[in-house]
Symmetry: D3
Subunit: 232 residues, 6 copies
């Protein structure tokens, strides 16, 4: 019996990515919790540029509005960079977690030093924004491969070697002891990279789903006091 | 003869605020530079909440798109918190400066310690986000009065005393030596507060206009290399 | 059917505290996960001083050793300050989470600013050590009431008013939007404080249990590569 | 008609450098603003060592004293490292901006990440001092070529290749998206480097001149309240 | 028999202050080490403003030059804010320690949190500059009383109560566990404040003398490699 | 005549290391000060892992307890990472200094940038913990060679080349101007590395001994107010 529903929000319109990441995260939830995949109905096909982040944030807000109408219990924003999470927090009655922040704090429980491997290079500051918002810049390095998100939208497997090579650089040169996959579209690489790298590989959507599930179990939700008070 | 046009973008739909801040900044530009006020045609009436920031960022992008079509030379985003500035930078061929970042670096040239007085309280993190993006948190404190932006949309004069009282607290308790007005709607208070406080009072739109004008004079514009490369 | 066992380690010898916190966290775990309370068999009755932290760390290590022999799947260290967590991580095959780090990252998902209310005053640096290890000092303030841990060992209820008063100061003066209870012995105050304060109140043991449970669901455990490699 | 005069202060005695940088910046000022070049009459021929910085600061103070007597409106200190700026601020009735701080905040408006290319290597900490005073160390890397300032006093052109090579390293390895020329003597390289590098190249004296001009337009000057109160 | 001579440099011309601080520190040195008091022969009577700091730095350099001619083994700069220390390091063959940096690291060995009580208020940034150069801002607060250095030049006793009151505020509100006297002229208050406050009171000249003496015993002196290489 | 006794505490059971470091530091103390070597009677043979740090901290506490009974005046903890220093501070009536913190602040008086060369790689975070506790991460880099402490217990000479090579990397790539030896067992390499590297080489035990000796000369000891109050 489903008692709890967590919406997995994809801020872009590429539904195949929503399906992939939701499936990847489906083993994480408790019995009684269902993951509800949700894809943007308008906006960019992928979120890479700053404009796409702005459009993506509005797409997140739209989906949360629909989710609230449907009685969703909690939300995961499945886009590296966590666009729209702040707006989602003030709109949703239940907890909201971004895949980036979830991945970072999860890695922090597993390793003293870790690294994000993201794509494409231009999005480095989007990762760093979340890293610094949490204050983890003394423990986390950011590396990027210059592959566009659109290139992996139909499957990340062709880029396994490139991601793995960059992860090895993080391990060898940045002292990384765990690797965070810096794009929802890389979820399918979690298992092969875990095998080949020999260190924990954190997939942010799964990490965020686990965290929302845990917040719900603790009956915790976003503070309404100030920053995330509902808009008037 | 107008050779240079700087668009002053208001991310919200309250045109009176656009007029006020543009007028306040009009004395700052060089001969030959014109300020073009621009107001959002849709979206929130004021930007206070996180959702309004998300909607405001898209409104900024829309106005930059129109500005590019009209051959605008540079842009100022006139909303404390600098929503939409990153997207604007990647869309515009000329320089883009947010009123918050401009106010902060301007104050840093005038005083060792300074403070933002913003409103309402819930927007504290929006100021802090820009402060930390620049790294000025060791020199800048943020104070807020709990007045909504809508309340000052028809004139900030009724709140002069409240702003002044908070500024005095910043001077007395935070060692502030200059005050930044933390809302475009407060521009009209610059002169009276400068008189009464006896320290420099920085109005961010004027500061940003001066900065864009200076960047244009140096023939400098946003780097297209990576973070602000045009969206594909 | 119990498939997963998480040991809740109390580094001090006060078994009543172990029982209280384990009970408080018992509603958080998934079906099939059991919490196994464990209390130090020797060492200090409470962990307040630096010497007690040193002794407590060894007590944690002893309990993990026993836990490994018993096939425990994951561990929570139930002592604010997270003494012994680093040693536990290198000894345990499964994940280990301290109540302090768990509470901090949990609060960070619920509020932009938050505060720890801990006790007694002399332990301030023990909280700050974890706050800074995570890098959250720009978002988290630490407040303390000068009550000894021994005084609350037989029940924290008499100190509800003192804790609540300090939490109100954090809300009013530090802009805190959520409160972290800075001692395992305060778990019983979670419900009454949640009611009276009107902001999320995070209890670290429950937060840590949820996090370990989530890590196990993701099949993630401590990186063995370097910092937490097994001792030779 | 000249209404405003900005003094460009060279803390060293090499008048050719004063001329070069003032000319380079002359296109930046508004109609009605004149740049007044000023060279130290005693002290070191170049400012590279810490002793030379100490002597240079006094030379700056001497020139400001003369400038005040002559009714100068604002000042630029044209020496990377901004020696003497604090003293100048408390002596001058008008605004004072150092070329380093101006270059840094200008670059911050153009790029998320940027780099200083300075010389010689021993002056790294002089750049870093200003970077950290502004708090931009998370966005700015410092690189140096080991060429003495005296070597470029008669023209920087022979070192174009060396500077360009170091700038390319900053772009390729430090993710720099804009380059700051870390010596007033490099001003003549601004144009060729802008062409060859394809990213914004910021020359600090021009940036500082623009900033002082803008402060004057805003009728802003140094706070007299505390740090920069006149000496008794 | 005197084998080692440490010069105590006063950057200002008030010889009485030199005598007082040298006497206060005289009990700290080893047998065979002599303290050589040295007073500026020109420049300001006290160092409070930024201009006075600039002049004081040159006065320090002059005294080091004389000291090198006289075969001095090590140097202490006895002015809170450590003006001239960088220049002194590159000029001296032996080690150089400023009273501020020495006081800060000494307090850090005695207490987790501590505070500077300095004077007058306008010099706050001079203390903070050294605090941040060492990185101790997370452990050290700065407080000031608004008394001029000239007022204490003839004896600090009349200001004992004011200093003590501010120190109590640091203890009560900033969690300070040790107090640093933020002016060489306060040395005579060390004993009475130690008695009345009940926490360690660190006098920077004595701390610096002990540190130079210890560096000499370790046969350590300033690195000549880069930052402090001799000026050419 | 011995008037002052400083105990040099080795948290591990390898007495040969205690002898070596105590001898190396013996030339640093004043006449009348004796160094009393003390070796753990139980616990790990070397301190490398986190568990060994936990056990080492208790071994430090045991030795301080014995030292207090014997009237020891001050203590040095001779283990890189400073395990047990906090507990020692609250137990000892006299001052306590760790070799890591002493080495770091000593290097900070000699060089603007410096590096630790430690071993083995897994202990990187133990060095970084102390670096960050002092706030020196902007000036200090950490490098490691992957040699176990047990390998150097019988003499570090075979690893001179490896240490020297890593130190050269720090000088060439990290701008280090001084080198800190990151293990008590490396003390015998101080002289040869000083010769070959041409920069100051800081040995932490000697640095800590000098510092404790200096604190005693200043009649300063640990603050009993809060963090290091005696355990009840």
């Amino acid at each position: 019996v489903i008692r709890t529903r967590i919406m997995v929000i994809n801020p872009n319109t590429t539904a195949s990515m929503t399906v992939t990441v939701t499936e990847a995260a489906s083993t994480v939830v408790r019995p009684g919790t269902a993951l509800i995949p949700s894809t943007a109905t308008s906006g960019p096909a992928t979120v890479e540029s700053n404009l796409e982040e702005a459009l993506g944030a509005v797409a997140v807000a739209d989906q949360v509005q629909a989710g609230e109408a449907a009685g969703i219990d909690g939300y995961v924003v499945a886009c590296f960079g966590d666009t729209g999470v702040a707006a989602a927090r003030e709109m949703a009655s239940g907890p909201v977690v971004g895949m980036t922040e979830a991945a970072l704090v999860t890695a922090a429980m597993l390793a003293r030093y870790f690294a994000v491997v993201t794509l494409p290079s231009r999005t480095r500051h989007q990762s760093e924004r979340v890293v610094r918002e949490l204050g983890l810049d003394h423990r986390c390095r950011i590396r990027a491969v210059d592959v566009g998100v659109t290139e992996i939208a139909t499957g990340a497997a062709p880029f396994l070697d490139a991601i793995e090579a960059e992860a090895h650089l993080a391990i060898d040169h940045d002292h990384a002891e765990a690797i965070i996959l810096g794009c929802a579209g890389l979820a399918e690489l979690t298992a092969p990279l875990t095998s080949s790298l020999g260190v924990p590989v954190v997939e942010g959507v799964a990490a965020a789903v686990a965290m929302v599930d845990g917040l719900l179990a603790q009956r915790l939700s976003t503070s309404r006091l100030s920053t995330y008070a509902p808009a008037e």
